[in-house]
Amino acid sequence: MVPPSGGPGWGSPGRRPRVRQFDEQVEHGGIQVNRTIMLPASLDEAVEALAVTPGAVPVAGATDLMEAVNAGRLRPAALIGLGRITELRGWRYEDGGTAVLGAGLTHARMDRPDFAALIPALADAARTAGPPQVRNVGTLGGNIATAAPAGDTLPVLAVLEATATLARAGGTREVPISHLLTGLDPLRPGELLTWVRVPLLHAPQVFLKATSRSGPARATASVALVLDPARRAVRCAVGAVAPVPLRPLEAETWVAGCIDWDARGEEGAALIDPAAAAAFGEYVAGACIPDGALDGGPEGPGAVALRLRRTVSVLARRALGRALK
């Protein structure tokens, strides 16, 4: 990062010096490179900075972004640091049973008991997202913007049918997270991810993740599952097996019909036949890892896909079991 030089970097003469800004000219192997880092203090300033600096990249926890910059895979013309925008770091209720989460909410904050009581699956995903150092700075918004296939919060947001608020100079718009992730309705130039709206369900919700070690690790597969007793529905999303979280809609509809919703709340009631739960697992796995992926011999990609299918199947079955317990 650039040290605050105190010299000519403080604000640039051409613009209104509203946003605290550092400019630096560095010689990089004989090539002059301009580096600009802006530190807006409010959302309005951030949106404005984004509007006037095309190609600027907003950065919050920087756990993914700076790794790419340091490795030379990414050389952004300018960075807009969001760390000083305190309004984005919290969350609030909104009428109509919605939680509005700031994009700057850290994984560590989402793991705290008050938040975990509200959206337990998101708290579980945040808790397993990495080592404490990463969770202390890595943010919800960063997880969505990076959209890594193994991003732990993404299947939870997909299954909760969360929406994102995108702000730009002069207005905002709401986009379902799944549309954002799939590219159906992507982030446009000059837009900043500011809020995530999560409908509160007051019903069991589960996030499960399979990894290759007990310590923090990337998911080989993850499953988020919620019950919606009001609509007598089950929603499920599978993460890390495809570039975006997958929703096995047919399996969801099918399993909702297998659940004895009326027995809910009764002591010791079996809500679902174990065979149906196992079949649900298979159904989900089959939907997310299509038969075509299984080609390629016993040691080739087919074997990998078969193992992944089995893992997803176990995760989905267990997630349903925990949700119905």
Binding site: G29, R127, K209, A210, S212, S214, R310, R318
Partner: protein
């Protein structure tokens, strides 16, 4: 208070700590003295090589081969030289020419000089250094290195060690590093029960916490001074000088803080390139490798393929062992032939078997070079022979501990090499210690609250799918160099005023030698303030920090030097008191006669003088293994028995090692706390190899050269380590009767974990690391 008989016996030193000073700092041999570097490391003030700085220094960077096997058609360094800020670019052509007068990359190596410093004509592994740059900024140096144009003609990469026998030589030295046949007994012997197995061990990387770093400073006399985290300062100095065509006295190697090493650290090419850049530019050059480069730059553990057939009688006694062992040495020889000797000699393990027929090969491939890592060779075979013994136990329907007891080696028994085990071999006692040790409780009452399930906290673990398994393993590893290697170390001890100083070129790489040296001097001279001088190559030779040799050879040298100083100190006083030296003792900085009547402080006895003594320690010699693998090749052997308890989620294949209980043959516990530390560290490394660590390659290219991709065990993956027993049966020829402790737990832990996973799942676990797919039932 010590008695005169204590003093006369050098291997049985008086514990000089007076009983009344309970609150004093631990002192002398046998105490739990704190590591000398513990506090600076905890406070972050310990100086590592990466912290070095010199006025006007330049930064070095290396260009590495992106291909595992290719011919270098042309190298164009002009784009790099054209960049402002670049001061020098070096390739193989800048190294002294070979015997024929043409550049050959100045090949070097610990045993066979086959590895060029910078690739010359051919690259033989992914990441092989091709050229290096010195520039005024580290980024400039890296950019310049990347801008060098190298035209490669791709060659087929030989990555399967079994193919290595059938392909044209990958190197003028050939593809076979060593073939070691070991034959003893009757080839026709047949047992009533025969079990066979094929075992595979992956590529473990030492992954030291600190990546490679160093500083080279040119000297006015045309030589160079290297500041490095070297583990073998004199060997590195000599090889560096040879590669640069300098006299050894023109190269000085100063050892900086070592940020983690389990044996070797910096690859020779790193330091020679650094020195070459400094000599070329006439300015200090510093180089720090990135994490990714670090994985390419140092050697890893030998991947192995082992085929075993065990014959046993109806009682479970071993009748015959047949084995084929293939070690993948990678592109260059390094210490492969040494690792192979250990693999073949310990191919049966700590068991007695009269008929042994083993063929062991170490071969060249285009994979990353393998080298020295705790228990090289011995670890791979331990996994195989212990798996075989478990199979025999299943066939015979007896307890895995029982089959081991029936075959256990004892002192005096012959090894398959024909060498009798003259050191203590308390294998049966180690097994008994494990039997008596309680098992960790099953979390039956409130599983979800207290039980860390496989997969970790917040994972997908389901208690209903978790099976617990218990596995046992025993293993052995030799100490000191083998097969005729000259083992020697020299140390100097100086006393002045109320403190002593130890000057010895044995590098403390984390094994705790500095702490031990301090304890030795405290015990012999009774002074509590003991300083350990920084190590450089101007001191006398102490040899590499590997194979647990410093406790023996350098510890022995320090003890002898300290005893000589003691004699110099006491002789005039003894004469003055009219008694022999043996009747005086030193404690708490005071000299006291046997009856406590006469006494004087050490400082007064010294009368402002300084006393010095230098001594050497050279254990008894060994001989190379002959053409049938016979010979007294090893100085001494350490044994360890281990019980691993694992929980396996049999649906997801997640494995968690719950507990590892260790019974170890230590000879004598010189510092119990440090021994426990070393055992815990070695178990962590062994568990890592068993479940996680594998430097994966595809067609010779390393796939996971990062700490994200290369999975090291975290605190959650590391089990509780309990010490069931530290057996103190003294090895009479060893210094203090002590045995090396660091390597043998790492050798045994993977086998114990594999046995436990086998017990939990009923699956034939035949490869390490054990991946989730290897532990899924059904």
């Amino acid at each position: 208070m010590s008695s005169p008989t204590d003093i006369s016996s050098p291997t049985d030193l008086p514990s000089a700590a007076p009983e009344e000073s309970q609150d004093a700092e631990p002192f002398g041999l046998g105490s739990t003295a704190l590591r000398t570097d513990a506090l600076p490391k905890a406070l972050g003030i310990y100086p590592y090589a990466a912290d070095l700085w010199a006025e006007g220094l330049l930064w070095g960077a290396v260009l590495r081969s992106p291909h595992p096997h290719a011919r270098i058609v042309a190298i164009d360094t002009t784009p790099a030289l054209a960049l402002p800020g670049v001061h020098a670019v070096v390739t193989a052509a800048d190294l002294p020419p070979g015997p024929e007068g043409t550049p050959d990359g100045a090949p070097s190596g610990p045993i066979v000089a086959d590895r060029p410093i910078l690739a010359c004509g051919v690259v033989r592994h992914h990441g092989e250094p091709v050229a290096a740059v010195a520039a005024d900024h580290p980024d400039t140096a890296r950019l310049a290195a990347a801008s060098i144009l190298v035209e490669y003609e791709l060659l087929e990469a030989v990555t399967d060690p079994e193919q290595s026998f059938n392909v044209p030589p990958l190197h003028p030295e050939g593809n076979l590093f060593r073939h070691l046949p070991l034959r003893t007994g009757d080839p026709e012997a047949v047992g009533e029960i025969v079990v066979e197995g094929l075992y595979q061990v992956g590529r473990q990387d030492p992954a030291p916490l600190g990546s490679e770093a160093g500083l080279a400073v040119p000297r006015p006399d045309g030589g160079v001074e290297l500041h490095l985290s070297s583990t073998d300062p004199h060997g590195d100095r000599d090889r560096t000088a040879a590669c640069l065509g300098l006299e050894p006295d023109r190269v000085r190697l100063v050892v900086t803080g070592v940020p983690g090493a389990t044996s070797d650290r910096e690859d020779l090419s790193f330091q020679v390139t650094l020195a070459l850049l400094a000599l070329r530019t006439g300015r200090p050059v510093k180089m720090t490798l990135t994490r990714e480069e670090s994985f390419h730059a140092h050697t890893s553990r030998h991947p192995a393929l082992l085929r075993y057939r065990h014959h046993a009688d109806a009682e479970g006694k071993l009748v015959k062992v047949e084995a084929q062992i293939l070690l993948d040495g990678g592109a260059y020889a390094d210490v492969s032939s040494e690792a192979l000797a250990a693999a073949a000699a310990f191919s049966v393990g700590p068991y007695v078997c009269a008929n042994v027929f083993v063929d062991a090969w170490a071969v060249r491939t285009n994979n990353p070079p393998a080298g020295r890592m705790r228990g090289e060779g011995a670890l791979q075979t331990c996994f195989a022979y212990e798996s075989q013994l478990d199979q025999l136990a299943v066939q015979l329907g007896i307890d895995p501990l029982e089959i081991r007891r029936r075959n256990a080696m004892a002192t005096g028994d012959p090894m398959p090499t024909g060498q009798a085990v003259t050191c203590p071999a308390p294998v049966a006692a180690l097994l008994d210690a494990l039997t008596d040790s309680p098992l960790p409780a099953l979390p039956l009452d409130d599983p979800e609250a207290d039980w860390l399930l496989p997969g970790g906290p917040g994972g997908a673990g389901d208690p209903a799918a978790v099976r617990r398994g218990i596995g046992y393993a025993v293993g052995m590893v030799h100490m000191l160099g083998a097969e005729g290697e000259d083992e020697v170390s020299t140390a100097t001890v100086r006393v002045s005023g109320n403190h002593a100083t130890v000057i010895c070129a044995a590098v403390d790489v984390g094994q705790g030698f500095a702490t031990l040296a301090r304890q030795i001097v405290q015990s012999v001279l009774g002074v509590s303030e003991v300083y350990i001088a920084p190590v450089d190559s101007d001191q006398s030779v102490a040899g590499p920090s590997a194979r647990g040799r410093h406790t023996w050879v350098s510890g022995g040298a320090v003890e002898r030097a300290a005893l000589m100083v003691r004699h110099q100190l006491l002789q005039p006083i003894a004469a003055n008191f009219g008694m022999s030296v043996e009747l005086l003792s030193i404690a708490d900085g005071k000299i006291t006669s046997y009856d406590g009547v006469l006494g004087m402080p050490v400082a007064e006895a010294l009368e402002g003088k300084e006393l010095w003594a230098t001594a050497q320690c050279r254990p008894h010699p060994t001989e190379p293994l002959d053409e049938s693998g016979q010979g007294d090749a090893f100085v001494s052997i350490a044994f360890c028995a281990m019980r691993a308890v694992v929980d396996v989620d049999i649906e997801l294949g997640a494995v968690r090692v719950v507990d590892v209980t260790v019974a170890q043959d230590v000879g004598r516990a010189l510092n119990p706390r440090q021994i426990e530390d070393r055992i815990e560290a070695a178990v962590a490394q062994g568990v890592g190899l068993a479940l996680l660590e594998d430097l994966r390659t595809d067609g010779g290219r390393i796939l996971n050269a990062s700490l994200t991709g290369y999975r090291l065990p975290t605190a959650l993956d590391t089990p509780d380590v309990r010490i069931a027993a530290l057996l103190e049966e003294r090895d009479v020829v060893a210094t203090f009767g002590a045995k090396a402790v660091s390597a043998v737990p790492a050798v045994v832990a993977p086998a114990a974990v594999a046995a436990a996973v086998r017990a939990a799942t009923g699956l034939p676990v035949g490869r390490l690391p054990i991946l989730p797919e290897d532990a899924i039932v059904g």
